[in-house]
Structures are given as C-alpha cells and as structure tokens.
C-alpha cells in the first residue's frame, strides 16, 4: 500500500532529527503517498461520534488489515530511525468536524507497550482550519506550546510515547480533518 519515497533515504539524518526534536522526539515527513486505493478502502468504513472529557471526534473501528499494511511499510525504517523495536502498528480512521478536539494528554499508559504514536493526514474535500497537532513542553509549573504540526494531506507525524509527551489536536473551526492515527508496538 505504501512505497516510501526519497524523504526516507537518509535515515541517519532522520534519526538525528528525531533525537534532537523539541519538546520531545518527533518527526514530520511529507508526501507519504499510498500506491494503492487507500481512500476508496476508507470510504467503506463508517465512523461514529465519540465524546469524553478530553475528546470529541468521529472514529472508526480498529482497521486491522490497514494496520498490518501500515506496519509492514513503516516499522522497519522507523525502528532504525527511532532506535525502538517497532514490530506492528494499530490504527483507526478519524474525522474531526467543526467543534471537534482532543485535549492535552499523553498516550503513555502502564501496561500498554505503545512505543511511538503517529498521525497520518488524508486529503479532505474541505481542508480544515484548526486541527493542528500541538506538542507541549512540560515543567513542574507549566505546560507550554512548543511545536505545531498542520494536518496537510499525506503528511506523517510520529512522536515518542512517554509520560511527558503531552500533545493535543486543536479544535477544528471549519472544514474536515481526516486522518489515520494510532501507535507502533514492539
């Protein structure tokens, strides 16, 4: 489903970028274009509204076949880049409409071996305003915005899963934000 392009050739440079990224290790790689009918496959998947104290969005079920294909394409290079033993991916599709958000949180949970989180942005008929992935620097007394990643089509954002990797999806103010998102596991 994915053939990785020139942006992935210099893995040493990507590894340096990962290690030195602030406020915590992350990478943004553009033009991760599928070579199969991804959007057609997703058209067949439904999404349902979900809401809790930290989120409101529409999400699909676990997409097992797509998770397998995504992991097969990316676990190898991302394991070399991040230095983490990535072996599989698990993902869902998400749709954020106006008023949808995911408030600041970390993905780290004891007992869940999430190593690296990712968001992979898809083309949308109405490009969103808002919906950026925002990364925060955490101190004992404050949480400060430190990086802002726009949800551009075919952009892959990956970031470290730890108890300090605080991030949010800013509220979508107009349009539609579509993505696949999940985690890489050992």
């Amino acid at each position: 489903m994915w053939t990785l392009g020139p942006a992935w050739r210099d893995e040493a440079a990507l590894a340096r970028a990962w290690r030195t990224a602030a406020p915590f290790p992350h990478l943004v790689i553009d033009d991760v274009v599928p070579d199969g009918p991804l959007m057609e496959l997703l058209d067949e998947e439904g999404v349902e509204h979900q809401e809790g104290d930290i989120f409101a969005f529409e999400a699909s079920r676990d997409l097992d076949a797509l998770s397998t294909a995504f992991g097969a394409a990316l676990c190898g290079p991302l394991a070399r880049i991040t230095g983490k033993p990535l072996a599989r991916a698990a993902l869902r599709a998400y749709a954020y409409r106006p008023g949808h958000y995911l408030l600041p949180h970390t993905d780290h949970q004891d007992g869940l071996p999430r190593l690296v989180a990712f968001a992979y942005y898809l083309p949308t008929p109405e490009p969103p305003t808002g919906g950026e992935l925002e990364l925060f620097r955490v101190t004992a007394t404050a949480t400060d915005s430190a990086a802002l990643i726009a949800p551009q089509p075919w952009r892959l954002a990956v970031f470290d899963c730890s108890d300090v990797s605080l991030h949010q999806v800013r509220e979508v103010l107009s349009g539609l934000r579509l993505s696949l998102a999940g985690w890489f596991y050992p």
Binding site: D53, A56, P98, L103, H105, E171
Partner: protein
C-alpha cells in the same frame, strides 16, 4: 457501596458574582480556566444544601471557576473524596452557553449533567468514586463566559 442519592438542579438560585481576583490555571493536561479560591459563599448557600440533602453540613471550601472559549477542566483534575461530601454549584454565567458539568463514577457512564443555566444551581451528593468534569468550551462560541461558584460541604 453507598452511591450518590441526590443529584438535582435547582432552577431558581440566583447569586451575586463576588468581587475577586482571578488567576489562570494552566497545567493543560488537567485543565485550563480562571479561578479564585476561598470566595465568600452566597447568603443561603448552606441552607440550600442542607435543605436539599436533609443533612447537617458545613462549608469546607469555595472556588470560583470561569471558563472562556478553549477552556475545560478534566475529570482526573477533580480529586476523589471519601467523606460523602456535597457539592453545590451556582451558575453565575452572564448568558447561557454550550457547556456542562458532568458527573460520573470512576470511568463509568455520566450519571448527572448540569448544563450552563444562569441563575440555577445544582446539588450533588458525591460518593468516593464520583468525579466531575467541566466540558470544553468551543472556540466557535466567541465571547462565551461560563462562571461557576463551586461550594464543597461536609457533614458537621
């Protein structure tokens, strides 16, 4: 386990906005809001809580919370209490806005919702697993301001 017995809205419970200096809370993984602590409670607050719950109570704490667009208070920022305390919230908002206080037990389903209703109040008997959260205020509602005076009461 003793569960909350009373969770109710009192539609007509007007109260004055106290004169306070607000400070912003900004540990964003817990909440984003303006607050003032130890504000004077409205006259009649203690009586309202005691009458509603039929319990002899005293005020343990008061806190004024103000939510603007983009603000929220998450459930894990609401400490658990084992003393079956009562929570009385006055809604001092200047106008209705799409925001709610939601109460749940543990990570379970929400059992009570107090929508933004200026001039109303709610009284909730908490059990040891009760947590509340104040929902995110959408930036699509520019100018929204939700003002809540939260009074915690315990048995005398």
């Amino acid at each position: 386990m003793r569960l909350s017995r009373i969770a109710t809205i009192i539609p007509d419970a007007p109260a004055q906005m106290p004169a306070v200096t607000l400070r912003r809370y900004a540990l964003l993984d817990r909440g984003s809001y303006l607050h003032a602590d130890d504000v004077p409670p409205p006259a009649g607050a203690l009586a309202l809580a005691q009458t509603t719950t039929d319990r002899a109570l005293r005020i343990a704490s008061t806190r004024l919370l103000v939510f603007e667009p983009g603000d929220y208070l998450l459930a894990h920022h609401d400490p658990l209490h084992g003393d079956h305390r009562v929570e009385l919230i006055y809604d001092l908002s200047p106008a209705p806005a799409p925001s709610q206080v939601r109460y749940r037990r543990g990570r379970g389903a929400v059992f009570f919702v107090f929508p933004c209703t200026p001039g109303a109040a709610c009284v909730v008997e908490r059990d040891p697993t009760t947590q509340s959260y104040h929902t995110y205020v959408s930036r699509l509602h520019a100018g929204a301001s939700i003002v809540r005076l939260v009074i915690q009461l315990v048995d005398t």
